[in-house]
Symmetry: C2
Subunit: 381 residues, 2 copies
Amino acid sequence: MNKFTYYNPTKIEFGKEKENNIGEYLKQSNIKKVLLVYGGGSIKKNGLYEKIITSLNRNNIKFEELSGVVSNPVLSKVYEGIELAKNNEIKAILAVGGGSVVDSAKTIAAGVKYDGDVWDFFINKAQILKALPIFTVMTLSATASEMNGNAVIINDDTKQKYSISSVLINPTISIINPELMATVSKEYLAYSAVDVIAHCIEVYFTATIHPHFNSRLVESIIKTVIETTEILLKNPNDYDARAEFAWAATQGLNGLTPTGTKDGNFPNHMIEHSLSALFNVAHGAGLAVVIPAWMKWYKEKNISQFKRFAKEIFNNNDENVGIEKLENWFNKIGAPITLNDINISRKEIEALADNAYETAKVWGMDTIYSKEIILKILEKA
Amino acid sequence: MNKFTYYNPTKIEFGKEKENNIGEYLKQSNIKKVLLVYGGGSIKKNGLYEKIITSLNRNNIKFEELSGVVSNPVLSKVYEGIELAKNNEIKAILAVGGGSVVDSAKTIAAGVKYDGDVWDFFINKAQILKALPIFTVMTLSATASEMNGNAVIINDDTKQKYSISSVLINPTISIINPELMATVSKEYLAYSAVDVIAHCIEVYFTATIHPHFNSRLVESIIKTVIETTEILLKNPNDYDARAEFAWAATQGLNGLTPTGTKDGNFPNHMIEHSLSALFNVAHGAGLAVVIPAWMKWYKEKNISQFKRFAKEIFNNNDENVGIEKLENWFNKIGAPITLNDINISRKEIEALADNAYETAKVWGMDTIYSKEIILKILEKA
């Protein structure tokens, strides 16, 4: 077991109607003015916006708004938010939405407290030293951004999808009310399920040290995601399934699963980021395409863990059957599983590999993932 | 799934040699003077004391000492610590030891900031509103006290073993170096294993709502404890087994496993506390006696979860076999499983039941656990 530091100071408020207390939570934290960040406006249609504003007003919390954050969130919108926050004496960022909104909020929170270009953090040119506090109300569970210090943003100029990580941008309080997720489309539920499974299996398969305890935690999350996704596809209003899915998703990338592991990395995310960056593919959809291809290429390097996966998740002793069953499950829940399924043709593979190799360099993974290797994996997709 | 708040701001520093940085961690937290709390002095024999002092001195951290904390820690020692801390401008408590030392440190930390009698917190006469920061270096893993806000103390006057719980007494930083635990006796390892399993199964069996995800987390911890205990009984120096045991123990009572459950309670702890309080039985030993008896009495009330337990932990479909196998396992690792094994005779059962019923009242469990019911359970032991 490898040495580690585990520190996750985010407070989770989980359950029905918790969003009505957002104003109280902000007040208890001595916040008097927030930048309210959200997406395309669905929160205005479903009444969530109204609830949030009511709670803010009741607690005399002033606010400015930044709307229009898109999935695969872009840097230009982040710049807009930083400008708004700087000009309006904003004391905290309140994100209402899914991972894209929260990641944008985190980047704004760090950018406000930095004199240079916030993109510096993404290309390892500068380190986050300060950030505004962040509060979230989640409307989609997948990225665990509500309980970690990670943010992923696409630079719309350079077409780079890069990430930052710092405990300084862990949300102070995150509200997870599974009821707010009941309207998530079946398509996005499937993508979310794939994303959570991806978070779990990246380190599970790639770490050179992976304690049994961690394998069991990861398998607990995957089993829960599979079980609850199948329930939710039949009955989107099953509160308990939605709640278990949400909490398992949070545990999937809040820092717990990789504790004590060594050398784990995120090759599927690395390659997928190029799909999102170049072709605006939904993150979970891209992962569903990359994962089976990567697994087929990688399995020989950690055969015992692939056998374990097949056994624990699909009750089968053959590692190839484990991969096949996961691929079939992605297909069954409606996720794409080939590049063809997402309308990417063979001739575009070259550009994808180039872009992913750049990410490999930034993430320090280029010694394993040369352009040729990435091409080989993409060929299998 | 029930609503919940999850907040655990304790930072864990896990791994070899981390204790050498305790001075640096304190310095980073702006602490200039600590009260060093420890037990019977084994840390002086094995060199840990020397390492801690060296680290403190290197960072110009002054300290006072409180030694002699016993397992089943007593209130009189806590009073002594509070007095020492108040008279010496102590800014933090540094606990070096196992759960008893940490629980004493937490109680001192709360007591220093309270004008009344610290026992008020234990009998629900007052609430903890402030506490000194707490730092720990663990030498035994079992109670998860290193990552929660719980403390259990015996009032040596009244023979009450009661507890407090507040996030204000969560340690700021806890150091877990599994190497420091290599000298734990086989007896205490067994007791620790029982204690961790007890933490896991209390809510697992008693909650009226218990999501599958939580059951899987609990089962992950129990499987890990069983696996690693068996390795450690053969080879106490197996670092990885010691490390997995330690981290599983921490997860067993850091607030994660009961998230989203409803109405779970701690009857085995409740009854065991009377064994410790009246007969100074080691906590884990007492639990090993109480648990099988309680399970036999309770199983009808939650038969599906007892069947699940038998299946998941012992791969058997019969709930009675699950209980029997756990009892046998306690026996196999050297824990007592009857009152007779710990030299408590039938005529003492009455006094035990009286004492436990008093705890039931303080814990709000007296509607289920009448004196007659407690007697019935003790009869099975």
